[in-house]
Subunit: 211 residues, 4 copies
């Protein structure tokens, strides 16, 4: 009893918590399917709550979006932390990229999140996610570069962009395998190979102006 209802201000009321959760879950699904402009009433309907309840919990579309968004981004950020301990830097990077694809594949709501990250709709939210995801990639990328395993002329921003773009097509049949294949090719392109210096003419366009 000593640590009773010592939460923020008052009882968090059971049903309120449940409803909030339901709305988030529904929003994840609806945004995932219909994009960031999907109907909020559809979200409420799917969550089995009144539209008013949705608005009480998330007073604006952005607020709801952000709530859905952040948790997804956080998870990917945390995954990056874990993968830093993997022995093989390149494989760790590959793993993170694949996991992100998986994330999208399992409809965890990443689609909308990524779409938002892509087009800078709400700058504040985008800032957060861009930073978080960029950091996640950077951690793994830097390590692989430091190990001399991949070349240094691709920024984490570029890589994130490529990843998001590829996942953009997440509603075609077989997209997931396709993206995994493409990522592998991409990683191959990033690889340093001791015997052969990077092909002279080929990659100039990039290396010259990589920052």
């Amino acid at each position: 009893m000593s640590d009773g209802p010592a939460t923020s201000l008052r009882k968090p009321r059971a049903d309120a918590v449940r409803n909030r959760e339901r709305v988030l879950e529904a929003a994840k699904g609806v945004f995932s399917a219909g994009g960031p402009d999907a109907s909020l009433e559809a979200v409420a309907r799917r969550a089995g709550v009144g539209i008013g309840t949705l608005y009480r919990h998330f007073p604006t579309r952005e607020a709801l979006f952000e709530a859905v968004y952040r948790r997804e981004v956080e998870q990917l950020g945390e995954l990056s932390e874990q993968l830093k301990n993997e022995p093989q830097p390149v494989e760790a990077l590959r793993q993170w990229l694949r996991s992100t694809v998986e994330f999208v594949a399992t409809k965890k709501g990443m689609t909308a999140a990524l779409a938002l990250a892509a087009h800078g709709k709400t700058s504040e939210l985008t800032a957060f996610s861009s930073e978080r995801l960029t950091k996640a990639i950077d951690a793994l990328l830097t390590r692989a570069v430091a190990a001399g395993e991949i070349r240094a002329d691709v920024s984490p921003e570029d890589l994130l962009r490529a990843l998001i773009g590829m996942c953009y097509l997440h509603d075609q049949p077989g997209w997931q395998q396709s993206v995994i294949r493409l990522l592998d090719v991409f990683i191959d392109g990033l690889r340093m190979r001791g015997d052969a210096p990077p092909p002279p003419g080929g990659k100039n366009g990039s290396s010259e102006e990589a920052r």
Copy 2:
């Protein structure tokens, strides 16, 4: 009376032709900016015609979309034909990819077209464009593979997908340079190098199931 009430083959009437063209042009711009769901009234307004006129020429949104779409896709198809005569297969491929990026960059309406191609909204239309663009890539890809310059385990579909995805981010500052860099890395990944066989474990996920 002999040619009665202007059947579909008689008198294309000058202003009708002009209006049709105007609507197409306007639609390109509007879809480009606002996506495939942009307001048709906005299109009519921009074209300087009444909304009724728009509907007369294009009875459905899809019809209009298709009309806009086809011409863009055609152009990219034709570019592919021309590039087949380039001496360097890989460079021809790179050129086509870059040109497509350029296409998007110059707001030639490709954005909406690609978006549509991406998500299979109107299957008929998608079929056409997928086929056309896939063919365009295939022509260049096959040639490079045949020349032994790039590996064979990436399908034109995959490549198209990657390209479209990367262009998806076309509203971020600097996206164009970024995409060009990424494409170069990608092409590097595709390159055959006599000295080093493709990394053993790395690309398995793809090579095993590439069709």
Copy 3:
């Protein structure tokens, strides 16, 4: 058991009283600013209580309105009582009128009250206030008429109406001075002047059909 479950006569419970008072105060302000249709949630917020608490004390919008209303009207009624002792009947009347203006000016909530009195929204409430205010004016008016200082062909209802109407414009800059001027002119119009009989044609329109 004698004082069992707090019947309406037992224990007014300190916080309940305080909350009731707060709500009334808040309602005065909110109605004053936003009119009789202002948001009840705004009232609760301003009072610093939950919306449920507001509803417990005042189960309907009308109940709240009435509670706010009565106290204001009461005060003006009491003022009238006091002014009956003034030596100069006309000045007493003028004073009451000016005080009412002042009342409105100091945002004592009279605005909404008057508005309500004006348009017969809730007939019961209107009845009360009309009666009370009419009486207040009547007391002063009758006395001045009895003293032979003002003419008898204007009813307290008319006067009340004029007063309310003039105060209606209470949100224009300088309205207060304007109303005071107008009231003075009005009182001038009411004055009996031994030397000059009421202008023959002028006020007939009214005196003839006054009921």
Copy 4:
């Protein structure tokens, strides 16, 4: 043929004109009854047109309001012009005031118009009407003052304010007669009488600061 359809741009289309008129008429009634915040859907319903039609003709609530408003104000302005030719200045003024009351009484939509003029909701519109109505009164007032028939210390603004205020109560039974009586008293108060100087102390509040 020479002067054929030389109207603004094209055919004003019969039904469009009719609908516009219907909407205006309906709006007059609805605003009159429910104030300037009345439901626009109610207006459309009453006009027997779709809500979309209402919006086509009047894209904003203000636009509709203005359309209703201006025509009423214009009429009162014109009435003032005519009355300037009346031989008796004071009677001309009285007549205008009474006509305005009549106007409100016959629900010509003035209610909402006046309410708007009163509270400065849309400054541009208010500016127009204030100016127009003030001018209307001024023309008559100045003339009566110049004729030495009424005193000079009441501005047209004050008078307009009093008039609007009194009409504010237009929904009480018998209000019209009441207002007419009050206006007569008021005019009496304005009258100059050679024999008796304005009561010494009484009206100072006003005369001192009249501009």
